[in-house]
């Protein structure tokens, strides 16, 4: 309890002793502080306690100067619990470097593999012609590695009514057409009985492009049947084609036009007997041979017809052919573009019996 003396509170010894710590650390308000100071001056016990508190405080403050052996501190600091370890490992930055880089490498490899597998490169090459090999290969699916072609006069092609006589035989094989005659020349060559074979002339790769503007020899002897002397080996013009070392400038600048070739296949009896009749009927519809060989060229057990026909007669042509049997027809994209109103057909009739 405190008494009042001259308007100021006087502290009891108990209260004064309890307030000594707050007095030392400065927690008292000025009035209380003054009261405690007054009391201390007159009380010997308070003076002793005040000294003890100051001594104890100094000692307590020095507790922070103590230390433990460094190895013990290290040991304690590395303490982990299951939860703290889980928390630590859940952070990507805490993972071992080797593991992190391995995951990155696997991820990149996987993404690359997925990209390579999933992107339709053939279609992409068609959509962006600049991706392709800048060469008029068959639908961009073939890579031309080499070409042995027969050079010849363009007269026939102009007669054929093909819009681009220059390009007509620029990639032609021995039969004069890379997509038609050549294709049939490659297939089943073992069965070829007689075959008009052109004089194969190796041509530098760089000169062989569909729209190539490179000059060609003007006159070359017409095809001569030499089946007896030359084995019916696959024609030296593979489907694969390599990008020309000197690709035609035109093909780079001009947008690639897409032509269509109609392929028809039939299988009929008495082919030898009916073939001339079919030739006549086709010619009556305005068909003109488009390749090197004559219409109805016999090869192995079949007959080959490569011709251009007015578009208006397409339906009639099919009627005529269906009269002999079922016809399978497909349209293929081809770099050779026919003039408007003209269709190009490659018809193969196989003998089904005798």
């Amino acid at each position: 309890m405190s008494d009042f003396n001259d308007g100021r509170r006087k502290l009891t010894p108990f209260l004064a002793h309890e307030m000594l710590y707050d007095y030392v650390v400065g927690n008292l308000d000025p009035e209380r502080r003054a009261a405690v100071e007054d009391f201390i001056r007159s009380d010997r016990e308070s003076q002793n306690l005040l000294e003890a508190i100051r001594r104890g405080l100094r000692y307590a403050e020095r507790l922070g100067e103590l230390n433990l052996p460094p190895h013990e501190i290290e040991q304690i600091s590395s303490a982990e619990s299951f939860v703290s370890l889980s928390r630590k490992m859940s952070r990507w930055s805490e993972w071992p470097d080797a593991l992190r880089w391995s995951i990155v490498a696997v991820f990149i490899s996987t993404m690359t593999a997925l990209t390579v597998v999933s992107v339709p490169w053939n279609r992409a090459a068609r959509l962006w012609p600049s991706w392709s090999l800048r060469q008029s290969t068959d639908q961009g699916e073939h890579l031309k590695l080499a070409d042995l072609t027969r050079t010849h006069v363009d007269e026939e092609e102009t007669e054929d009514g093909v819009s681009n006589p220059d390009s007509l035989n620029s990639d032609a094989g021995p039969t004069g057409d890379s997509s038609g005659d050549q294709e049939f020349a490659d297939v089943g060559s073992d069965n070829v009985a007689d075959r008009p074979l052109a004089t194969a002339t190796p041509v530098a790769l760089g000169t062989l492009t569909a729209n190539s503007a490179t000059p060609r020899p003007n006159v070359v002897p017409p095809p001569t049947p030499v089946a007896a002397t030359i084995p019916a080996s696959p024609a030296p013009t593979p489907k694969l084609a390599v990008a020309s070392a000197t690709p035609a400038v035109e093909s780079r600048t001009k947008p690639a036009e897409q032509g269509v070739v109609n392929r028809a296949f039939m299988s009929i009896d008495r082919l030898d007997e009916l073939a001339p009749k079919i030739v006549v009927q086709i010619k009556e519809l305005g068909a003109e041979k488009a390749g090197e060989v004559e219409l109805g060229w016999k090869r192995g057990t079949g007959r080959y017809f490569h011709f251009a026909i007015p578009e208006t007669n397409e339906a009639r042509l099919l009627e005529v052919l269906r009269a002999y049997g079922p016809v399978r027809i497909s349209k293929d994209v081809h770099p050779r573009v026919m003039p408007p109103g003209q269709l190009r057909f490659i018809l193969w009739i196989e003998s089904s019996g005798n």
Partner: protein
């Protein structure tokens, strides 16, 4: 990892429990628990690893668990376990630690090892600021009296030897 707080925690248990094995276990558990709850990365390079209140609360929890399991309640730890200044008398602390209530010991250590404010101590020990000040005052008075008696005892011993 910042070692200031780790050192303070280790010292808190070493001086508070005065049993090397128990102190080490309690400190390790406290550190692991703090890492689990608050991580082991400070928010900024200057910031402490954990808040003082969080450390105090965790220390109090582990203290309670380990103080109860000590055989004979308190076991002394030798001077060789500490690195202390030459003029520092650890026996004063030993006597005080043996006689004082553990809440007072805890408050004193927390105040001077973690440099906590009275409010942080009150939060960490889950009591009022007034109680904290009372405990601290009692503790330092007891420590001061202990130092005085130690000094008087040693001077008497010196005189008897003369």
């Amino acid at each position: 990892m910042k070692l200031d707080q780790v050192r303070s925690i280790a010292l808190f248990f070493a001086l508070g429990l005065m049993d090397q094995k128990s102190a080490q276990q309690a400190a390790q558990k406290t550190i692991a628990s703090l890492k689990a709850k608050y991580g082991d990365r400070p928010l900024s390079p200057e910031a402490p690893l954990w808040t003082t209140a969080a450390v105090l609360a965790e220390c109090r929890k582990e203290w309670k668990a380990h103080a109860r399991s000590l055989p004979g309640h308190r076991v002394r730890t030798g001077d060789e376990h500490f690195v202390f200044p030459t003029d520092f008398d650890l026996n004063v602390w030993r006597r005080y630690q043996k006689d004082a209530p553990e809440e007072d010991v805890m408050a004193t250590l927390m105040k001077h090892l973690f440099h906590a404010t009275d409010e942080e101590l009150a939060e960490g020990l889950q009591t009022s600021v007034g109680t904290i000040r009372f405990r601290l005052g009692k503790s330092v008075r007891q420590l001061g009296l202990s130092i005085r008696s130690q000094t008087l005892g040693s001077s008497k011993t010196d005189r008897s030897h003369e």
